[in-house]
């Protein structure tokens, strides 16, 4: 299995460079919403391990919200450029490839960033400006871009074959159909019309790291449990008090801003989402969000079933990143369907998780015991979220027409095809996927 990794380069933009940088980024698009995948700056399609990528200016419209907390001054945050992606294999190798194929383009882009000079060594600079996530979600750990493409081709070949030879399959049982299609695919593979690559061995270092990560967090929790009981009680009392007094800042976003966001949405079956805001001041909130996101990260990596983030099955990749010394946070995701259905999915299917994380952001609708209420105030929550949503100037997806559910279907088809012993029931379920 090839594990997935992510990267994010985060660099302050030079004073006054925002507008020109924005234009440069937009020049990578054919239309505001449509990336030219062969653009001369970063020819995205040349990277065959890249799932998703985006470049955007992190322009937080809500920095003044912190004023709602009286004495807290409004910090003078820098304006950042963020370049992030989700890849197969490790980030170091990808950076080398990035520099090889898009070095000039990246230099042009990064030249708008503070401290980047023509003589700067690109890879070292990118590594020095890496912003790792506090939590990340991968829909299907181990499924590579190559596998996705091969499985899609497999599914297409099967569908075409069935369409063209419908009569031959008419009287066959599910198991017979399965066997016939196995033969067909064997033949296609033998004649090099189809390729199904074997999974590569899981790197040993990754396995060790993963195992340590898996036992590490519960172990730590277990060890700390005895000394945490009293502080936990105090923490709960503090949190409850905060919940009752934290201000709600959720009003309808300016229509022009919302329309600008909307003009970039729903052109494809998948959308990108970026939301940014300030965290509530104080230790209690910092501990809460760190604890919750560490748990989310651990659970997403080790215990949630593949293809699921809680009950949500439409997210490809997502991550949470702290900025400015944990004063601010930005959330990125790639999801299927419209933003309206995305928000409904979150509210209706995993509202408790949403509350536990985002209620630590300034202005979130009032929660109760951290996980209750909050986003159940549907319209307030949607207004809150829209206000914190940022436009993404450049967005790339390697498999434009495929949803996470498509990917799961294709994987199930491939797995079934490789199965040598299937019960009647399994065969029927498999055939139903075609």
């Amino acid at each position: 299995m090839t594990p997935q990794a992510n990267f994010m380069i985060l660099a302050p933009i030079r004073q006054g460079g925002e507008e020109e940088l924005c234009q440069l980024l937009e020049s990578m698009n054919d239309r505001p919403e449509q990336l030219n995948v062969n653009n001369p700056l970063i020819p995205f399609t040349q990277f065959d391990t890249l799932h998703f990528a985006r470049l955007l200016i992190l322009k937080d419209n809500s920095v003044n919200d912190v004023r709602a907390y009286g004495g807290v001054p409004v910090p003078n945050y820098p304006l950042y450029l963020a370049f992030l992606g989700d890849i197969d294999g490790d980030a170091d190798r990808f950076f080398d490839e990035l520099v090889r194929r898009a070095g000039d383009g990246l230099r042009k882009i990064f030249s708008f960033c503070d401290g980047f000079e023509p003589t700067t060594e690109l890879v070292r600079w990118m590594k020095a400006h890496s912003a790792p996530p506090i939590a990340a979600y991968v829909n299907w750990r181990g499924r590579t871009v190559l596998q996705i493409q091969e499985e899609a081709a497999l599914q297409e070949a099967l569908q075409k074959h069935l369409q063209n030879n419908a009569a031959d399959f008419g009287n066959l049982s599910a198991r017979q159909i399965h066997a016939r299609l196995q033969e067909f695919i064997q033949k296609e593979k033998a004649e090099h019309r189809l390729k199904v690559s074997d999974a590569r061995p899981t790197p040993v270092w990754w396995r060790i790291k993963n195992a340590l990560h898996m036992i590490g967090l519960p172990l730590l929790a277990l060890l700390l449990l005895p000394i945490l009981i009293l502080p936990a009680l105090i923490y709960i009392i503090c949190l409850r008090r905060l919940e009752k007094t934290d201000p709600e800042l959720c009003w309808r976003v300016d229509q022009k801003y919302s329309d600008m966001l909307a003009s970039r949405e729903d052109h494809y079956v998948t959308n990108q989402f970026t939301a940014m805001g300030s965290l509530k001041p104080g230790l209690v909130r910092l501990l809460t969000i760190t604890g919750v996101l560490t748990t989310v990260n651990w659970a997403a990596r080790h215990i949630t079933p593949r293809g699921h983030l809680g009950r949500i099955r439409t997210i490809h990749f997502a991550r949470w990143v702290f900025l400015d010394g944990k004063k601010r946070m930005v959330f990125f995701s790639n999801y299927d369907g419209t933003v309206e259905s995305y928000m409904d999915d979150f509210i209706n299917k995993t509202g408790f998780g949403l509350n536990a994380v985002f209620s630590n952001g300034i202005g979130y609708p009032r929660t109760n015991w951290l996980v209750l209420d909050g986003c159940q105030d549907e319209q307030k929550y949607k207004d809150f979220l829209r206000r914190h949503t940022l436009p993404t100037q450049v967005w790339y997806k390697a498999y434009l027409g495929l949803t996470a559910i498509d990917l799961e279907r294709n994987t199930r088809i491939r797995q079934g095809l490789e199965s040598t012993s299937m019960s009647d029931q399994e065969a029927r379920e498999w055939v139903a996927l075609l």
């Binding site: 066959l172 809680g310 009950r311 309206e340 259905s341 027409g401 495929l402």
Partner: protein, 504 residues
Amino acid sequence: MGCPSMTKTEIDYSDVQGLVRFGYGKLRGASYALVRVRNQTAAQSWLCHAKVNDATIQSPPPSTALQVAFTADGLAALGVPPAIVDNFSTEFLTGMAEPNRARRLGDIESNAASKWDWGYANNTPHLLIIFFAKPAQLSDFIASSKGKTWAEAFDEVRWLSTADLDGVEPFGFTDGISQPEIDWNRERDVTRPQIEYTNRIALGEFLLGYPNEYNKYTNRPLIDPDPLNRELLHAEDAPEKKDVGRNGTYLVMRQLQQDVGGFWDFVKEQSGGDEGRAEKLAAAFVGRTRQGSPLVRSQEKSIEGVGSDPDDICLNQFTFAKDPAGALCPFGAHVHRANPRNADYPGRPTGLDKLITMLGFGPRGFRDDLMSPVRFHRILRRGREYGPELLPFEMHDLKPAQDSERGLHFICINANISRQFEFLQNAWIANSKFSGLTGESDPLLGNRESIPGCPVTDGFTMAGDSALRRRVSGLPQFVTVRGGAYFFLPSLRALRYFAATKSA
């Protein structure tokens, strides 16, 4: 908005326009006037005197009915101040034809608003005025309702006539069978997770001013009391404010032209000319037979909000849970897309199972838990058909002379257009990836336009004779959008308030 108040007041039916409660099915004649305000004072005077029917039950039932709704432009044209208009929902304010919205609704290419007969740019109506009467009395009723001020008050954008097809839509299928039951008395506790499919839906999903399925009051204009708005009711959730929206709601109207000849030609061609098989395929598209029987069997157990007479049981006492493989009713069938009849969790879990499911460790089947709970996405349909009637055998072999324009004046009522009508249209009807499918769209309503990376959206899969599913491809576009708009259907108090507004 805030939490529901402790005291539930009883609904004042005399303040609600009748259409929310009744379809006026006995009044088989109907006509829709789409008009623009020509003269504000005259328009207000006409509205002042208009005898708009309310939702009280009358005995004998009224022999005519008049209903009035406004677009955002219409409210402005009447002189309703921006401080009020701007607090209606974004969807209502920007309108159905807004380009980003149109893309989500599938109103592109042949459905594009720029090609509409009405509802775009200069022919966006200000008001929708609905006239119901017995067919023979309709024209007299319209004439008497119009009165003397009409011509001075309004410019007519369009008159839309309707046809009484005896409850059958133009393709030949019984229509309007499934409707949500409004929980008028607010008896269902919406805060409890819905483990079973329910057809009884919170009042606030269909009327503003009442708690919705989230137990919240949908946003609407609330204003400070003043002598002019004395008659308006207070907001339940903000008693110091007057509620302009209360007992009003949003009305979505779309003119959907149906290609009846094209539909039956295609279905027949796919069935090798065999009429029996053609009927079956058409029923698979719809998810019901022509007479309305669902393709899945009705269940023994009653469903909350579904009536108990044999007809209700036969037509609506069913869910798709017993047909997980789509063997009886295809996943992509119109009735499945329009109402998946699901609950809050897959597999009806209780106790510990519920917690396990909530955390994402529930059923793991390919199609499990793909859809949002339907109780948040219901609409109340109130449309009427138009175009000359055809007999079933005529549809199978439509002569060119009979091929005149037919369709549906689709009307639905909901309190939150984006979460109800738009979600339904976008995430379920138009979605090429609905319920784990790919390359399909609603067999009746889909526009068949490609999406980048998904060239095909004109397929349809259904259980075949063998283990293999049958895939029908190349479905033509059967329905074309010819017009549409979002309206506000005010309460009678709000209507009188608008009619009395003094222009600034």
